[in-house]
């Protein structure tokens, strides 16, 4: 949709394994063997419920895991071929905010409450590009214009608490994009916002992406946001990738039982049809990372689970095109459907 030719991926993650020390011997594995890639100008959505490891994936890419418990146990994170797992902390600081930026669910947490908006954006530019202060402030003003904040000159002088939630998220986007990053990681950027504001922010991200060609990894629990934004989708459950496909393919032909369940459980407009009807349920609860079941992690909640599912974790297999799924039962039928 961006009209850019298929190009080399900006980011490639291979076999990422994120662990947390628990003090009880075995580390807790929060992300297990995750691989993904995203190209220039492309939006990859990572979708899943709380605790599935989607946010930790983003934090692992930026090496911002909570210390001293979290660490990357295995895998590579290649940004234009450079493995970020191996670089020094100083090199990593130069990557964060410049090559890769991140925006979070709660904009207030990533803004300093006692520094004006203008200074916060200008300082990001100053640190990474070493321009003089006047140029940095000019860039800040230009960024506020670009994220369509009304009266940008006045806003430069204001503090975060003087802005509404939607405006704050615009400011964090302005900050994130100020150094023209190659990759933007957006972790539930609209979850804390009202629907009308969410629509504004999603439109904004899409427009800016079309203009700058930034690759976007959008992390969300909301399949509606996925349908709006994604080109490709990665579905996560209990720390592993269970399905990956182009967005239309995924919505037309969801194959993993978890993906199907999620789609059926999601109340959506017009979904009620004529009368009130029950929603599809996925029984049980998301497993604790401390007690991951053997075999397929979804098996205890899966209606189709067989003996094999409970014993042996299914590998991710291609089922045509870029569609792949990790399921013993439905992977075969997916090709037929």
């Amino acid at each position: 949709m961006t009209g850019l030719a298929v190009s080399q991926p900006v980011l490639v993650v291979e076999g990422l394994r994120t662990e947390f020390a628990t003090g009880e011997g075995h580390p807790m594995v929060a992300v297990d063997g995750l691989s993904l890639y995203v190209r220039r100008g492309e939006t990859l959505c990572i979708v899943g419920e709380s605790g599935c490891g989607k946010s930790l994936t983003a934090l692992s890419i930026l090496r911002l895991l909570p210390r001293p418990y979290g660490r990357i146990g295995a895998g590579r994170v290649l940004l234009d071929g450079q493995d970020l797992v191996q670089v020094t902390e100083a090199e990593m600081r130069a990557v964060r905010g410049r090559a890769i930026s991140m925006i979070f669910q709660e904009p207030m947490s990533s803004l300093n409450p006692v520094i004006t908006i203008g200074r916060q954006i200008a300082e990001t530019v100053m640190v990474h590009e070493g321009l003089d202060w006047a140029d940095c402030m000019d860039r800040a003003l230009a960024m506020l214009r670009q994220v369509r904040i009304p009266e940008p000159e006045r806003r430069l002088q204001e503090y975060p608490h003087q802005l509404s939630g939607g405006m704050r998220q615009r400011v964090t986007i302005a900050m994130a994009l100020a150094c023209r990053p190659r990759l933007l990681l957006a972790d539930e950027p609209t979850t804390a916002l009202d629907v009308t504001i969410q629509a504004q922010i999603l439109d904004l991200i899409r427009d800016l992406q079309a203009k700058t060609g930034t690759a976007v990894v959008l992390i969300t629990h909301d399949l509606g946001v996925v349908a709006e934004m994604a080109e490709r989708v990665l579905v996560m459950y209990a720390g592993t990738k269970v399905e990956e496909a182009g967005v239309e393919e995924l919505f037309d032909n969801p194959t993993h039982p978890y993906t199907r369940g999620l789609m059926a459980a999601m109340p959506h407009l017009g979904g009620a049809g004529g009368g009130r009807r029950r929603l599809h349920e996925i029984e049980g609860v998301v497993p604790s990372l401390m007690a991951r079941p053997a075999g397929c992690a979804f098996a205890p909640r899966c209606e189709l689970a067989t003996e094999r599912c409970r014993r042996e974790a299914p590998p991710l297999v291609g089922i045509g095109g870029t569609h792949s799924v990790a399921c013993w039962v439905t992977a075969g039928e997916g090709v037929l459907a």
Partner: protein
């Protein structure tokens, strides 16, 4: 037939903190004249964006905060002016489920005691009978009775919300007010709780005031839906009419802003400009006119009334009045 809940002209203003010995400098007009009724076995969905006053309506109806004006009738009885002690007797008929299942349960009480507390408060049954009732309630909401001795932090979010539902059911109320009861839950668990609430409604002829911001959820559970904007109801209608033929431009914008359910439905949307104005000095005339795509001069000066047509579909808009 008397409605289970009848709210008329409900107002809640919060005075802004006054200077020493000075007069208050103004008021936050959180709820500014709201009227609605809920019949037996009916669900009224109350939707709106944050700060529109929908939760304040719920708390005022529950008398957890004192309304500034208006009247609240529960099964025909006026409870508006009742003092807290006098209110206790009426609480048997009206219960609440809160949004955050983490903070709405006392972390120092066991699950069994949390559900038994309403029974103890009203002296219903002896100790053994109370235990029996608690076990039955646990079973009804899908919790194992042997989980009674666990503390809230040992439950998942969805299970905690089931506990909250069991506590609300304990007294056999006729009305339950759900203040965003599923918005803190994961999608798969949210579906479980919505289904449970719908099953219970059928079983006990419950009436719900279902306060939410998620239009998809509201469409699923409601019989009628009221849309709030800046302290006022701007549109109220039977579910199908509201979602298929909305009249108020704000309702239209709200519906248009909901993300699509399939990527092929992506479209240029009607995106509302700007933010919700402050409820301290709400705009004159129609409160939505500052963001309304179709506003005319009249909207700035004259406040539109909520006019209902014969089907019970009402919208407060000068330009979208029903044909008479």
């Amino acid at each position: 037939m008397t409605p289970v809940l009848d709210v008329a002209g409900l107002v809640k203003h919060y005075p802004l903190s006054a200077a020493w010995f000075g007069r208050a400098r103004g008021q936050v007009r959180a709820v500014d004249g709201v009227s609605f009724a809920i019949g037996e076995g009916e669900t009224l969905g109350l939707v709106g964006e944050s700060g529109c006053g929908k939760s304040t309506v719920g708390k005022a109806v529950l008398k957890l905060i004192e309304p500034s004006a208006g009247s609240i009738r529960l099964n025909g009885e006026d409870i508006t002016a009742l003092k807290p002690a006098a209110m206790v007797a009426h609480r048997r008929r009206m219960q609440v489920i809160f949004q955050d299942p983490y903070s709405s349960l006392n972390p120092r009480m066991t699950a069994g005691n949390i559900v038994a507390e309403p029974l103890i408060n009203f002296g219903i049954g002896n100790r053994a009978e109370q235990q029996e009732r608690v076990a039955a309630l646990f079973g009804r909401v899908g919790l194992r009775p042997d989980q009674r001795d666990n503390y809230p932090h040992e439950f998942s979010g969805g299970q905690r919300q089931r506990l909250g539902i069991a506590r609300a059911l304990a007294l056999g109320p006729s009305l339950i007010i759900g203040d965003e009861p599923v918005s803190a839950l994961d999608v798969s668990v949210q579906a479980q709780v919505i289904n449970l609430m719908m099953d219970l409604q059928e079983e006990y002829r419950l009436s719900y005031l279902f306060i939410a911001h998620d239009l998809g959820v509201v469409e699923h559970i409601s019989h009628r839906v009221a849309v709030m904007y800046l302290g006022k109801i701007v549109e109220v209608a039977p579910r199908a009419a509201l979602f298929e033929a909305p009249r108020h431009p704000y309702t239209e914008a709200l519906l248009a802003a909901v993300p699509v359910s399939h990527p092929r439905q992506r479209r240029r949307r009607l995106v509302l400009k700007g933010d919700v104005p402050s409820p301290i000095n709400p705009p004159s005339g129609c409160r939505f006119h500052t963001r309304c795509p179709i506003a005319v001069e009249r909207c700035r000066s004259e406040e539109p009334l909520l006019v209902a047509d014969t089907d019970g579909h009402a919208a407060a808009c000068h330009l979208r009045e029903p044909a008479r």
